[in-house]
């Protein structure tokens, strides 16, 4: 893991590279969790939320405030963060589920931004100054704070595996059929006795719960949060981009998306990020547009089309 490209660099440099690679791996796994969580409500239930950063931020703020104000361990705070995010999701669902497709996406985008602006304005959230976690306690397992990256890597790996297993179960269970049915034709699903609101609400609440928990993890990992870092609109967009790029509504999609897009974004940042004019973002965007045009439906859909084309002989 600690190999430098030449294998001849001093140990110190090797160590730094390891830390960087571990960081990239942690971010990839973070996006696997977020991508799978979005996949549940967006990919399976077909509710394209563009406001998921709000749930992420709510999780981060809930656990951090509980730790700073009431000295509640982030292990508990993580669950509380998930619950707060899920509760807000239920409140949002009430008016938003009346809206369909683009209108639902627009409403969630607006709600995400509203939550961010509110957190900027509130005093008790630290406003734009944000909140610093008690870094003087490092290392502390009770406070989920470490100097090394390995414990974080382990936590996010467990979360990524657990969330992927949840999606595998959705895929295998009746719930998967019902959510897909709602996604493809809500009225037709309702006339078969499937209550669309109930299932969409469950998918959104579950998705928000996991996203909130991931927000807590992120706060503990970076040890500093503010509305710009945990609730930016770009975060909501990435949470959609990862599963859509890989193939939303599939188990593998978010995994492929995270492990393709995060290293890609890192690579363009390494190569073009130093110019200070944002050319890396332009390149990143252009590559994504190109790949999306080449494979609508994501990597998984492309693979399925190829396999199908091989299986079905062409009739002249």
């Amino acid at each position: 893991m600690a190999h430098s490209p030449t294998g001849l660099l001093p140990d110190r440099r090797r160590h730094d590279n390891t830390i960087y690679y571990e960081h990239v791996l942690i971010v990839c796994l973070l996006y696997v969790v977020l991508g799978q969580a979005w996949n549940l409500v967006g990919g399976y239930a077909g509710q394209w939320s563009l406001g998921h950063a709000a749930f992420f931020g709510l999780g981060a703020y809930t656990s951090t405030l509980l730790l700073l104000r009431a000295n509640v361990s982030p292990w508990l705070g993580m669950v509380a963060g998930g619950l707060v995010a899920a509760a807000i999701a239920c409140a949002i669902a009430f008016p938003c589920f009346k809206l369909r497709t683009h209108y639902f996406a627009m409403a969630t985008l607006a709600i995400g931004e509203t939550v961010r602006v509110l957190f900027l304005a509130f005093d008790w959230t630290g406003g734009a100054n944000g909140l610093v976690l008690p870094v003087q306690r490092i290392p502390s397992t009770r406070d989920m704070l470490w100097a090394d990256k390995e414990p974080y890597l382990l936590i996010i790996l467990v979360m990524a595996i657990a969330m992927t297993l949840v999606i595998v179960q959705v895929e295998r269970s009746r719930l998967g059929i019902y959510l897909r049915a709602i996604n493809q034709d809500e009225e037709a699903a309702a006339r078969l006795g499937i209550d669309p609101r109930r299932y969409k609400l469950a998918a959104l609440a579950g998705s928000a719960f996991i996203t909130g928990m991931t927000g807590t993890f992120y706060a503990q990992y970076t040890t500093y949060i503010d509305p710009f870092s945990v609730m930016p609109p770009m975060l909501s967009v990435r949470m959609v981009l990862v599963p859509v790029f890989g193939g939303h509504g599939t188990v593998a999609g978010p995994i492929i998306g995270a492990f393709a897009l995060i290293p890609l974004s890192e690579a363009v940042r390494v190569f073009w990020g130093g110019r200070g004019i944002g050319i890396d973002q332009v390149v990143y965007g252009a590559i994504i547009v190109g790949l999306t045009l080449w494979m609508p439906g994501g990597v998984v859909a492309l693979w399925r089309r190829r396999r199908r084309a091989r299986l079905v002989p062409r009739v002249a």
Partner: protein, 252 residues
């Protein structure tokens, strides 16, 4: 007590009156045809019965229990199954998964749905229904790849999966080739023989008159006639609603 009682049901869309007080009664075990020219309110009536639209006035009762004020999934749970005028299956789900989506959802929690796949006996029933519709070979085919007629049969299978007491069919033979129409009509008779009451909207007069024991004619949102297929065939009010008033020359 009748299975379905619709009394004085009215529905307006802005200035447009779709239903102006419709009364129909359906007894258990019947096949009732619903005819009328385009725009006479037949489909709107189905929407109202199935809970997709809330009527502005009137009452709809199933076995004496009001169906007003509840959503389509509740109406389904009470025993009403319906098909749409334009076939509506889940295009990306396999034929089998389409039918499985139609299994009974009474008292099924989200957690229960998440906990596992369909029970073996439910799956067997779904396979049997596909077989009944002659779709066994297409169980794993995505619904979008079936022909329109096959999709009609599939939609019927998904609705039957919920074991409805009352089946509302909106133009079941529209767009279906003649061979499949025969299969479809045979299946409908069989379904009825097994105890399901059917109300169908149909423009294929031969089909609807051959199938129905009793018929209602609608025009301009009102019930204008009721009776046996033979009686309605020669009812001047019904003919007039389709073809306009008789000309002075006496020629039609």
């Amino acid at each position: 007590m009748s299975l379905l009682e619709v009394s004085g049901v009215a529905k307006h869309f802005g200035g447009l009156t779709a239903l102006a007080g419709v009364d129909i009664t359906v007894e258990a075990g019947e096949i009732v045809g619903l005819i009328g020219p385009n725009g006479s309110g037949k489909t709107t009536l189905f929407h109202c019965i199935a809970g997709a639209l809330a009527p502005d006035a009137g009452e709809i009762r199933l076995s004496g229990q009001s169906l007003l004020g509840v959503g389509p999934h509740v109406v389904c749970a009470r025993g009403v199954g319906r098909t749409f005028q334009l076939v509506r299956v889940f295009p990306q789900l396999s034929a089998l998964d389409n039918v499985l989506a139609g299994q009974s959802h009474r008292a099924e929690s989200v957690a229960a749905a998440f906990s596992g796949a369909s029970r073996p006996e439910v799956k067997r029933r779904a396979v049997a229904l596909l077989d009944f519709m002659g779709l066994t070979d297409h169980a794993t085919t995505p619904a979008s790849e079936l022909s329109y007629g096959q999709q009609r049969l599939l939609e019927l299978a998904t609705v039957l999966m919920g074991e409805p007491d009352l089946l509302l069919l909106d133009e079941p033979t529209a767009g279906v080739n003649p061979v499949l129409v025969d299969r479809l009509l045979a299946r409908l008779r069989e379904i009825n023989r097994r105890g399901t009451t059917i109300v169908l909207i149909e423009h294929n007069m031969e089909a609807v008159m051959g199938l129905s024991s009793r018929m209602y004619a609608l025009a301009m949102g009102r019930t204008i006639a009721e009776g046996t297929p033979e009686a309605l065939r020669s009812n001047p009010t019904v003919l007039e609603s389709y073809f306009g008033p008789p000309r002075a020359t006496g020629r039609r």
